[in-house]
């Protein structure tokens, strides 16, 4: 097992290198530079600006000096925000996005898990149809619609919760977490329903029931543990998706997280910030995918043997 993880981590190095290289050149060849604005910058000023950011050197030299700095953990200065380093920006934005992501996952697990399990206990009942239809709505309701809708209901009509912010006013973390969690709750509901249905039809559950164990013990102790496997395996990619996809929520709710930095950096052609965010998120995505593969392998007896064979 350890060897499997170690191999995968080693494989991550070339993967990251490819991501860095491709992104570096992709970003440079995209039309429009970081200093283009409504007003055209005077050529002499532009030259001085480019010299300050070493943009006047050959691209390949810039590439290697970027790699050199990266190895030392230096992601460079931001183009858009003079005086701020990319490290500082990521350091400021990531904890917020991560916190939002964790709450969203918890919401997804709580709502989605409950709905999925309840559906699975009585498949093809009204309850099942209602909760699965709700899940479908969750999936098809994009965050840019659900967010403003929830704000309108709870923030403006009922005046229960703040309409924006993060950590300023009491309760302002509720709506963003709910909104971001909703989509994933829907997926979790479908996955856990499927998983539970599969498990509940298996022999050992029948055995447990036959032994006369109370129904809730059967479900909670034996059923959930195995029935949640697909959900657990889904958590890795879901968390990665939440981290890189939180922009809409952060924009609608005015949250100062990494998602906003990343997307605005792309719009602004803030080369170093795009690179920094990409590298950082790529590393996280690789880690989460690894985590999900390991977990899936570990929990799945058929694959565990395969892993054992490798190590």
């Amino acid at each position: 097992m350890l060897r499997f993880i170690f191999t995968r981590l080693l494989q991550a190095i070339p993967v990251l290198l490819v991501v860095i290289t491709v992104t570096f050149f992709l970003v440079r060849f995209a039309p429009g530079g970081p200093f283009d604005g409504e007003r055209k910058v005077d050529p002499s000023v532009l030259k001085a600006l480019e010299a300050q950011y070493n943009l006047d050197q050959p691209l390949i030299t810039q590439y290697f000096s970027y790699l050199g700095d990266l190895i030392q953990g230096d992601l460079g200065p931001s183009f858009k925000y003079p005086g701020r380093s990319v490290n500082e920006l990521i350091g400021a934005g990531f904890p917020i996005t991560a916190e939002l992501g964790i709450y969203a996952i918890l919401v997804a697990l709580a709502i989605g898990g409950c709905a999925g399990v309840l559906s699975a206990l009585k498949p093809n009942s009204t309850r099942d149809y209602v909760s699965m239809s709700a899940a479908m709505i969750g999936i098809c309701m994009p965050a840019f619609l659900l967010g403003p809708l929830l704000i309108l209901i709870f923030g403006i009509w009922l005046e229960w919760l703040p309409v924006s912010g993060w950590g300023d006013l009491p309760g302002d973390k509720v709506l963003p977490s709910l909104t971001l969690g909703a989509v994933y709750a829907a997926y979790v509901a479908r996955l856990s329903r499927g998983g539970m249905l599969e498990v509940l039809s298996q022999d050992y559950i029948r055995t447990a029931r036959a032994k006369g164990l109370p129904e809730h013990v059967v479900i909670l102790k034996h059923g959930l543990r195995a029935g949640m496997l697909p959900v657990v395996a889904y958590l890795g990619p879901a968390f990665a998706g939440i981290l890189s996809g939180s922009f809409v929520i952060e924009s609608v709710f005015q949250i100062h997280g990494l998602g906003r930095f990343y997307v605005l950096a792309a719009f602004n052609r803030d080369y170093t910030l795009i690179m920094g965010c990409t590298v950082f998120l790529a590393a996280l995505i690789i880690l989460f995918n690894l985590f999900s593969d390991v977990l899936a392998a570990y929990l799945n007896p058929r694959l565990r043997s395969q892993l054992g064979g490798k190590s």
Partner: protein, 297 residues
Amino acid sequence: MTSQAENLTNIDQFESGRSLWQDAWSRLKRNKLAIIGLSLLIFIGLVCILTPWIAPYSYEHQNLALGATPPSAQHWFGTDNLGRDLMTRVMYGGRVSLAVGLIATAVALTIGVTWGAIAGYTGGKVDTIMMRLVDIIYALPFMIFIVLLMVVFGRSLLLLFLAIGAVEWLTMARIVRGQVQTLRQLEFVEAAISIGLSKATIIRRHIIPNALGPVIVYTTLTIPNVMLLEAFLSFLGLGIQPPQSSWGVLISNGVEGMEEYPWLLIFPGLALSIVLFSLNFLGDGLRDALDVRASKD
């Protein structure tokens, strides 16, 4: 756990493919919801195909003096700020959205399933390289990628499908690979190997049909994603240009005025939801119909 006996029946059934599909169809016919879904989809599809002949107005016709009006006898779905008939625009938008949804999903499905099945079945170095490639594409900045694609290839609808397909196949590949890895260990596949069937035949005959369940479910989830992604790509300048529209674009414009002109959000949203629910019921029905084990219960 499936027993040895059941696995033998499995082999029999997949050897004679036609009976499997006939079986599935007769099971599907018994599923009321799936049939409702299928009929709705056919209905909406027909409306969209016939739109140029049956639409009440032309999609770019404006009436600036009229402005945004709620649903009325002349305009069943109301009009937008420029006085354009919303029903007409939803009908024309459906053509774009359905085309994008179906074609882009088909692209994603083809690449994703093939990629995942090969990686999962072959294993070893091939698997490693293929899946790390997936990791790489996952991590690239999508927006910059699209902008660059546009510069290199210009704007075209084909590019739109490719761009969407290019991101949507990744998760599909991961899902299929996981399924295939599990299936490969099963006895009936090993039996097929021992008979001496070729790799391609085994993947096509035994692996893919058995991995269909999750693939179908995920596909029904992908289609709405794709339709909404199209709205974002239109924002970047790829995809359709005004005065043409799509459901995704109509919805994202509708959100801006959801308090003042709710009908501009409700009708396109309703259209998208109906398609989505129908697809989902049909997807669930198909999965149950194709699942040999479930049919034994």
